[in-house]
């Protein structure tokens, strides 16, 4: 049976009990009122019968008409009351005594009023005596019977007031006890079930995914336990699946990491190993140009210059690649960096160009931040370098380096009034080796912004650019405020 049904039963039983008790009280009250009304009538009846007996005696002593009238009035009252007293119907002697008195008194009246009917005086006296004794006996019987009935009614009232109230308690107390017991056992069952549910849920939450709740009840809690078990089984399956997926991902990440490391090692080794032959090529090309420039025609000299320039750019590219590969691998020590000093060093690095172009540089006051110093320096170096480099010949270059403190990150920007970037290339500029201009127009390896992106990501940040062609660019990047090695 469901809990709702059980609760409905308890409510129903409570209502029935209360209604029953209420009706019981009403019934007792009505019974008492009825008994009291009967008692009052019996009392009046007894009084009237007593007076009837007295008036009979008065009349027998003195045959006065007043007594006769009073007697008739009293007899009428007695007869009327006897008809109203229900219990008299069960007492033959009461029902019979009243007409008996009446008939005997009629006989007395007849003897007194019509003495000619009873000519023998002695017989008349004897008859009067018997009739009077008859009345006395009946009056005494009526008084005795009504007195007894009066006492019985008083006893009935007492029973109604006391015993039936005890009955009321006998009914009320067991009813209340039964309801309490019913509620107690039901509550106990519910609480026990709830404890089982809570304990099951607690163990499940603690990681016991095989935990199931044994609650074989045909009610809402049993249903809830079943649903919990279904949910647990489903969750168990999902978690198991996720675990397998994670293991797979971890394995892939590990493989990727190894692959990256191998790649970086390869880049490092390759860069390092390439530098030496490249330097040799460039040195010999420069030597060739220096010693045999006069003996070679213009075309040969131009080719030699191309080769020297190519080897120089190749060196730059290799150096940049080497730097790129060191990020996160070699450059991985986080420490507090004074950005004011760092920026001063970077600007000093570009001092000749700045003076040459007449570039104005504005730097906001910078904080100390936790970062890999050389990496962060590379970021500013690349961004400021780009800002100086990508300028029109006619413009008056202006660079602004700013800072904003966010909740969890520092946000920096490097703003210029240079040539700007077309919208379609904004995301591409951070790709490795991506260049938007030819080496003759603006020199470079195409590694700078890719390096910046890698460093910013090493610092749990992001980098993006806002720019419009011909109106300059603003490069933003963020680094986390909570960085550990």
């Amino acid at each position: 049976m469901s809990i709702k049904a059980r609760l409905n039963i308890i409510v129903f039983l409570s209502v029935v009990t209360i209604a029953g008790l209420y009706l019981y009280i009403v019934k007792i009250t009505l019974d008492i009122d009825q008994e009291l009304a009967q008692v009052e009538k019996i009392e009046r009846f007894e009084k009237d019968v007593f007076q009837l007996g007295l008036v009979t005696e008065y009349y027998l002593t003195d045959q006065d008409e007043r007594y006769e009238t009073a007697w008739i009035s009293l007899m009428n009252s007695v007869e009327e009351l006897s008809g109203q007293i229900e219990v008299f119907k069960q007492h033959h002697i009461v029902a019979e005594s009243i007409p008996s008195i009446h008939e005997a008194f009629n006989l007395i009246l007849e003897i007194n009023n019509e003495p000619e009917l009873y000519p023998d005086a002695e017989l008349r006296a004897e008859l009067l005596q018997r009739a009077s004794i008859r009345i006395r006996a009946d009056v005494r019987q009526l008084i005795a019977s009504s007195g007894k009935i009066f006492d019985e009614h008083l006893e009935n009232i007492r029973i109604l007031q006391v015993d039936q109230r005890l009955d009321f308690l006998y009914v009320l107390i067991p009813a209340i006890l039964a309801l309490i017991l019913l509620a107690y056992f039901m509550q106990k069952k519910i609480i026990t079930s709830l404890y089982k549910l809570r304990e099951g849920a607690r163990l499940f939450a603690m990681g016991r995914l095989d935990q199931r709740i044994e609650l074989k009840q045909d009610d809402e809690l049993g249903e809830l336990a079943g649903q919990f078990n279904d949910m647990a089984a489903e969750l168990d399956t999902l978690i198991e699946r996720e675990k397998l997926l994670n293991q797979k991902l971890e394995k892939q990440a590990e493989e990727l990491k190894l692959s990256n490391e191998e790649l970086e090692n390869f880049a490092s080794v390759a860069s390092h190993d390439l530098k030496e032959p490249l330097r040799m090529i460039r040195n010999f090309m420069e030597l060739l140009e220096k010693k045999y420039a006069d003996q070679l025609d213009e075309t040969a000299n131009r080719y030699i210059r191309f080769a020297v320039d190519g080897s120089r750019r190749m060196t730059s590219l290799i150096n940049d690649l080497l730097e790129f590969s060191r990020i996160g691998r070699v450059y991985n020590e986080f420490e507090y960096v004074d950005l004011n000093q760092l920026l001063e060093e970077v600007i000093q690095l570009y001092e000749p160009l700045i003076e040459e172009n007449g570039t104005r540089v504005k730097v906001d006051a910078m904080p100390k931040v936790k970062a890999v110093p050389i990496s962060l320096k590379l970021v500013f170096q690349n961004l400021i370098g780009n800002a100086i480099k990508y300028q029109d010949d006619e413009s008056n270059p202006e660079i602004e380096i700013g800072l904003k403190s966010l909740d969890t990150h520092w946000q920096f920007w490097v703003k210029d009034n240079g040539i700007g970037i077309e919208e379609e290339y904004r995301d591409q500029v951070f790709q490795i080796f991506k260049r938007l201009h030819g080496p003759d127009e603006y020199p470079g390896t195409g590694m700078g912004l890719a390096t910046c992106k890698k460093i910013v990501e090493q610092h749990n940040g992001t980098i993006w650019v806002e720019s419009k062609k011909g109106e300059g660019s603003t490069f933003y990047f963020t680094i986390s405020k909570n960085l550990n090695s």
Partner: protein
């Protein structure tokens, strides 16, 4: 299938309580039976088959006498006067008798108790009834009114309350005893005599009165009287017996009291029993028993009525003294 431990405990408790209750019941029932069989006091009671005896039959049938420690033997006589004689002679211990034989035996040595050596003691009245004695005449004897009985054969059971009833009836209607032909006959014989026309008037008590009045109805007429006759049915013992066995008298009255309560609560059953015990038709007994109340008393009314009978005896010259009552 294993029961839970709590269930086993509950079962054990229930069994223990049940066993305990059964033991107590057996012990009590054995004790009660032993007491009943060992200590019952033999009592012989003289009664009649009069409907006023209902309480005696019920008490015997339902074992109320035994409950009160009495081994009662009911000695059924034709009339209360016979029972009084047996009481005086020592044949019985208690007599059930109407008021007239009781007064006769107390006041008049000539009638019942000429050789009595001990006073009678009335310990209780068992019924309250005002109209169970009747004077009944036959239509075909020309009787329709009280005055019509002059010169007719009127049956009378001597030494009974009916004697007083007839005397009052005649007095009320100004008829002299010498004006009727008195036929002495007990009430049982009156019924047959009335039906076969041997007598013209029967003076009887219930249930014979109802028997005559309703079977056949057209044959009989009840002759009216304004002097209602109150019947008593008294429990009478000898003084000596009462003094020596007060607890027996008390236990006897308690048994009757309980029987009367049982009659009030089970009237139909009591009627059935009375019909079986008296051999009177069930319908007759039903009508007869409706005319009286089974109520144990010893009231002023009883004394008044006894006094009335005493006066009657003096008036009729049955006794010279008025001091005996």
């Amino acid at each position: 299938m294993n029961k839970p431990a709590n269930m086993n405990k509950l079962t054990a408790w229930t069994s223990s309580i049940f066993a305990f209750l059964v033991s107590i019941s057996l012990f009590l029932s054995c004790t009660a039976e032993n007491r009943n069989s060992a200590e019952l006091i033999p009592v012989t009671v003289g009664i009649t088959s009069f409907i006023g005896e209902a309480a005696s039959f019920v008490a015997e049938e339902k074992g109320f006498f035994k409950e009160n420690g009495l081994d009662v033997t009911l000695q059924i006589n034709n009339a209360g006067s016979e029972s009084v004689r047996q009481l005086i002679s020592g044949t019985i211990d208690i007599a059930h008798v109407a008021e007239t034989p009781a007064i006769f035996s107390t006041m008049d040595e000539k009638h019942i108790s000429a050789d009595r050596k001990d006073e009678l003691q009335i310990v209780a009245n068992m019924i309250l009834a005002n109209r169970i004695q009747k004077v009944i005449g036959r239509y075909d004897s020309g009787i329709e009114h009280p005055q019509d009985i002059r010169g007719k054969r009127v049956a009378l059971a001597a030494d009974t309350q009916l004697e007083y009833l007839l005397d009052s009836f005649l007095l009320e209607h100004q008829i002299g005893m010498e004006e009727i032909d008195t036929v002495h006959m007990n009430v049982h014989d009156q019924v047959a005599a009335f039906k076969n026309g041997e007598i013209d008037v029967a003076v009887v008590w219930e249930p014979h009165a109802t028997n005559l009045l309703y079977y056949p109805e057209e044959l009989a007429v009840e002759l009216p009287t304004r002097l209602t006759y109150s019947t008593m049915w008294l429990v009478v013992v000898l003084d000596r017996y009462s003094e020596e066995n007060p607890e027996v008298v008390s236990a006897y009255l308690r048994s009757l009291l309980k029987a009367q309560k049982y009659i009030r609560e089970n009237p139909q059953w009591a009627v059935q029993l009375m019909s079986e015990r008296t051999g009177v038709h069930l319908e007759v007994v039903t009508k007869a028993m409706r005319q009286l109340d089974y109520e144990l008393s010893l009231s002023e009314r009883t004394l008044s009525l006894l006094k009335e009978q005493k006066n009657w005896m003096i008036y009729n010259g049955y006794t010279a003294s008025s001091d005996n009552l």
